[in-house]
Amino acid sequence: MKLSGAQIVWESLVREGVKTVFGISGGAVIHLYHALPDYPIHHVLMRHEQGAAHAADGYARATGQVGVCMATSGPGATNLVTGLATAYMDSSPVVAITGQVATPFIGTDAFQEVDITGITLPITKHNYLVTDVRELATVIKEAFYIARTGRPGPVLIDIAKDVQAAQTEYVYPDEVNLPGYRLPRPVPVEQIRQIAEMINAATKPLIIAGHGVILAGAEDALLELVEKARIPVVTTLLGISSIPETHPLCLGMGGMHGEAHTNMALSNADLIVSLGCRFDDRLTGPVSHFARQARIVHVDVDAAELGKNVRPDLAVAGDLREVLPALVPLVEPADHAEWLECIQEWRLDSARRDILNRETDNRLLPQYVVRQIWQATEGEVIVVSDVGQNQMWEAQYFFHHRRRGLISSGGLGTMGFALPAAIGVQMARPDQQVWVTAGDGGFQMNIQELATVVQEKLPLKIAILNNGYLGMVRQWQQLFFEGRYSGTPLLGPNFAKVAEAYGIPGLRVCEKAEVVPAIQQALATPGPFLIDFLIEQEENVYPMVAPGSPICNMIRRPLETEEV
């Protein structure tokens, strides 16, 4: 069967199970778009290629399947860059397909030519430039395989325009031939026994559950391990929802904005078992001061993560899908009553300082908004959060018990991620309610995607925590830079009216008393809904670990009685 390069792309995507592609057309992908209507693939026309990359990323994170985005050459391709870097940092399986100028023009600085394989070299797991149509099917097969296996990540395929038009005999390979591509090897039983021995010997054990647990689909085995030996669990930001946050042994997120009891547990544990976490600096603080009391077991699918940031006492390269089920039977039941009691004491202190436990406070606080969304939805939703203060409040005040219930840009911290990513999430999970929580700064970075929401009739519920600042930077300026608010006060539109202009009903909320009715209205309204919450402008995220400080040295919210 002879097919054109463009037909080969779509035919192969269909064979890979792709049903949705996020993209924007253009001159160098015109052959691809010409062939598209003949295939059972829904193309979501985004309003910016960055949005397309985030949407594909969101799709991938919501399902574990490869998300696909498409862009033309030159500026179309470079607009993908932030989205690909976001997916790369968070190990998200994405395949990006870009058009390239025709092969005779490559290297001539032709119109809309850019070396996108060169540009994306350090932000993709692998990439390809296809200049021969006979290689195309094999490249697509390899790209999907590389994107989803081992430690997942984005793969870019740049296809010259004449390759899309050229014809060749189409054979889609059954297998890949990648002699240099290594999948994790089975972990020797001896190593698993060693982990179990260390857990059984510990009196103050602690698990750090990272994104890797979710990527491996190892949530069941994690819960089994945790309950059998009653080991408390700290998650990373992206590890949230690897264990239900309503579980008594889940201590929530640790690190720079971790709850105090969580960071105290990290600093006092005698054993830390890190599962699929890369010991990011936002979690550890200075590594020389991190978890000094603890022996550390580090399990990761990527051997290069072992010893990269923190030196473990036991390093295990392997897939959690295999390691955890093998580990559970070797771990002895335990209750760790003393250790858990100690953590409970710290936890009570956290509760005493929690601003939501101050009944007299009538200000419109972001923490209150997040908590009310949680209560109104009973947590039965997927939240896609943006980056900054809003992200930390979401992580602290929404208790995620649903798997893959929180989607957020962790490693790269990409403002503007939430709205387009939520489009991908909602496309992947039409049966689920999806909420966007964002700040006024980040929301304005990809606000154009409101048009895509309407175009695709997506029932997204959008909550903007609007404080008129680039709030996290303002908080740093207040605490560490003499209160000079340089480059942080931010003018924004009336977001409810912007939503209205796009055809999305919107509300502006200025009073605490209006919060719950507004959320109820959003829930009762079919289709999308946007609420612009004008929150307390200079509210801070607490606790906070000052940059460079050990994570046990937190800036705490003062007790109410201490405030004068």
Binding site: T117, L121, I146, P179, G180, R182, A304, G307, R311
Partner: protein
Amino acid sequence: MKHTLVALMEDKPGVLNRVSGLFRRRNYNIESLSVGHSETPGISRMTIVVNGDERVVDQVVKQLEKLVNVTQVWNVTNMPTVVRELALIKVKAAHGTRSEIVELVNIFRARVVDVGATSLTIEITGPEDRVNSLIDLLRPFGIEEMARTGRVAMVRGGNGKSGEATSR
């Protein structure tokens, strides 16, 4: 400390860029890098000399292994190896100094490969320290031009590829 790594990789466009890009991005301190064909068609062989402690080198090896086009990586630093470098050195040679230079060349078992009116071009192959010694001795005469290949290395003896027994 200096470590010697040997890597095999697919001979495809852009692979050298992937490797050098990795070193730059991860901030590794590379002393020398030499690349050429291996015994297998389609596979290139690279010898990399990297500066750093055990931990850095361990990272370099692991990150190299993650590159899809890199098929094998060995750290041969602590193995018995044959290590060679080739240098071409063009040195000023007047009537009075020519014979003195040739004498040095003979002592080092190097070769004169080109004789010009005012210069000699010398080829030396050997371990880096021997190459360095010759260069130091030639410097007073005036080195006009020099090209060095960087280190290439191969594990001694055995009956297979370099370091296969210890390959990860």
